[in-house]
Amino acid sequence: MTNTRTLYEKLWDSHVIADMPGGASLIYIDRHIVHEVSSPQAFVALRESGRRLRRPDTHLSVADHAVPTRVRGGEIPDPQARAQVAELEDNVAEFGMPYAGLESAEQGIVHVIGPETGFTLPGTTIVCGDSHTTTHGAFGALAFGIGASELGTVMAAQALPQAKARTMKVELVGERHRLVSAKDIALALIARIGANGAVGHAIEYVGTAVSAMSMAERMTLCNMTIEAGSRIGLVAPDEVTFAYLNGRRLAPNGPQWTAAKAYWRTLASDPGAAYDQTVTLELAQIAPQVSWGTSPNQTLPIGAAVPDPATIADASQRREAEKAIAYMGLTPGQPLTSVAVDTVFIGSCTNGRIEDLRAAAGIVQGRKVATGVRAIVVPGSTATRAAAEAEGLDRVFLDAGFEWRFAGCSMCVAMNDDRLSPGERCASTSNRNFEGRQGPGGRTHLMSPAMAAAAAVTGHLADVREFA
């Protein structure tokens, strides 16, 4: 054994409470983000067993999934959603858990507000009853999604049994086109290694291209990591990370800030540290991507055509392609740019940050949403919405014919008012194109915010580079 360690191993080692019989370890959990959908059953378990929160200040709760985004304030019209949010509010009051209320300035999607408030910090373990908790790995935090029963354990014990993951280094090399975004890189990676290509592994993104990325881009990369089957995506904390966190409400300040930075600097993988696997992506070869199927790995460069299953040698992949093409209502061999869309959704924890809205607005500026297309922009948080309005981005979208919404998960997940109807086709900046994800029978094409903007103004899937 050498004493060089990867970022993952350092985070792991610094959180092992005890090794358990059978190979798992009990891991200390520093931070827990809570939303209305995955938490009710955990609170019930806590109440039934007469337990309290071990450390109330290590939790942050918010309503995001079920909330309407058309209006904010007043009663939530849908009775089920209203009951779910009310249940969260009762629970957080009863257990003394910090809560960003629906009308507070800190409300937003769990994975957007964790970083925005400074709740998400490097060197911590972060869990949430949500698979896209991978997002917070962008800060060099060991962050992963858990189930509702595990939530109950974290609330009561601040600890979870975990098996150590293997490590995968994803190296980004070379220069990318100005309009190729972190989303395109993530989709290209998933297309290459598959939807289960990184199961059992913690991915660390490395390379000068990663160091050059904004926190928003790093979050997009880490967010999409779960779509390759990995529960953990990581980027080592650096000056970009510190600049982002400096001054945020829950980030350390004063002498603590200096001490924290010194500690965070030690987290980077040691030179020569060994990974179980390495994947290298040549950025110059990555074009803007769009998904054509019903799994995020069914993705191609925008210049490509819908695959012809007859030419796919592997029987199970052929079956998958046939099934996806039928569901998506596409024709084998059809150029992707010929696929007309009904709806455009810009938002979600993948691409609902201010940088994403700027990228989309850059394409939309001075153009109009194509006739017959419904286009909505849903900022990832209330703070993002306010920041965008301060820059006038809301005007750009409204003038072009977009709807400008309040913060929430919205059309990323069919559990609020924003849904697709059967057969409706959507250009979406979210993360999952699963059957029914955006509404029963709905058809989702995943892409970057700039690509979604291009689809909105042309009315079909389009190559954003032609707008340069």
Binding site: A18, Y28, G147, S149, A157, V199, A414, G436
Partner: protein
Amino acid sequence: MPAQPFITVSGLAAAMREENIDTDIIFPARFLLITARAGLGRYAFHDRRFNAQGREVPGYVLNRPGYAAPPVIVAGANFGSGSSREQAVWALVGLGTRAVIASSFGEIFFSNCLRNGVVPIRLPEADVAVLMDAAEAGAAFTVDLEAQELRVEGQPIRKFVIAPERRLAMLNGWDETDQILNQYSDDIASFEQGQRAVQPWLYV
């Protein structure tokens, strides 16, 4: 909340010859507004079982006679990928399913299974292919967690492995939170003391 103790289950296996059966297929997102964990079986695979008018889709495996509540499911690779929703597992339990056989699983789904008395059995792809055919032919399946054996009519006995502490908890229906608090409370407290010295900013 302790799950039902698991010893063995036997019966027909539903063959789901499809890869990437994600948690949205197992439990569509729109039903997540339900805050109960009991009674979710009727939503399991909802959009495969029922058409837009709410009528059963003929030919779908769970709509075949004898397969409405299959104790075992045999599925393609990457079963349970996608979201962390534990409802996917609660819905399986509600349906009557206590074991799923596949060559790979979504990781969060996998650990959710173990906490709810559903045995996720990972076997090589070639074995899964053989078992898929056997399931389709109506063979009887027995999952024996105690012996970690899968016994299928007309097939050699196959071994599978579940992490020892999880297996013990499942066999006894133990609650994981209780176990941790009983065995590790002192370790947790001393960890916190140590961490407070190194990262005081995490303790405000």
